[in-house]
Symmetry: C2
Subunit: 124 residues, 2 copies
DNA sequence: CCGTATCCTTAACGATACTG
DNA sequence: CAGTATCGTTAAGGATACGG
């Protein structure tokens, strides 16, 4: 079966393969890990510090998922002590671009959103 | 306290207010509901059909959250039978733009991602 | 038609302890 | 250093029934 034979992906369709993929990318930790790798290659412990609040378990799990999806590359440098570098693949870089735009827009919109929440909660 | 006094929002900080907001926007249903409203105003039942697989409960809850965040506007038309229209606010429109870019990019990347997954699963 | 309330099941998550 | 294993807790979600 060639790619051309596949129906076009549609996130609105219940069983479309894009749904779980989208979750991996936009989920609680996926988006932050991808964004953390946008500028540069990083080690496990660096990511752990940068993505504040993530547990070792979730970081490990998130990185594995993103690697499986072909967004993140994992490179083991055989040294003592062990040293592992994580970086974005070409696909990862393409996808992180609109993601960064979204994160940045959300950040600058936070004051406006907080104001909306307060106003909303006040009137009820 | 004026906006200028607030520290800049940073999604990487554990307790930053942007974290839950980001979840509302990029979560399992939030992103799809926002995207469904990108082109036009829609009714509850229309959204329910369009966002395939969402339950009434989750659609209701998602719309409430997005309304509270100031991204979605809810308009009740007092008629019988009742009629409710959902639309994006100005802020909603701004945020949905990079979101649509991301969704669309994920959709076209699905074949590449599936291939990566198969290759990854094969070699272990 | 547009939801909310209730109940229940499952999946996500965090903390901790431990290994190559 | 870079994880994995296990356990217990919490939050998310689905199904159904009912109400405005």
């Amino acid at each position: 079966m060639r790619t051309a034979d596949l129906p076009e992906a549609n996130v609105f369709a219940r069983d479309c393969a894009s749904r779980p993929v989208l979750q991996n990318i936009t989920g609680r930790w996926g988006a932050l890990v991808l964004a953390a790798l946008a500028d540069d290659t990083h080690r496990f412990s660096e990511l752990r510090r940068h993505v504040d609040g993530i547990s070792e378990r979730m970081l490990s799990q998130t990185l594995q998922t993103l690697e499986r999806d072909g967004l993140v590359h994992r490179e083991v440098l055989t040294s003592i002590p062990p040293h592992v570098e994580y970086s974005l693949t070409g696909l990862g870089h393409r996808i992180v671009t609109p993601l960064l735009a979204l994160l940045s827009l959300v950040e600058v919109s936070v004051p406006e959103i907080i104001a909306a929440q307060i106003e909303h909660d006040r009137s009820r």
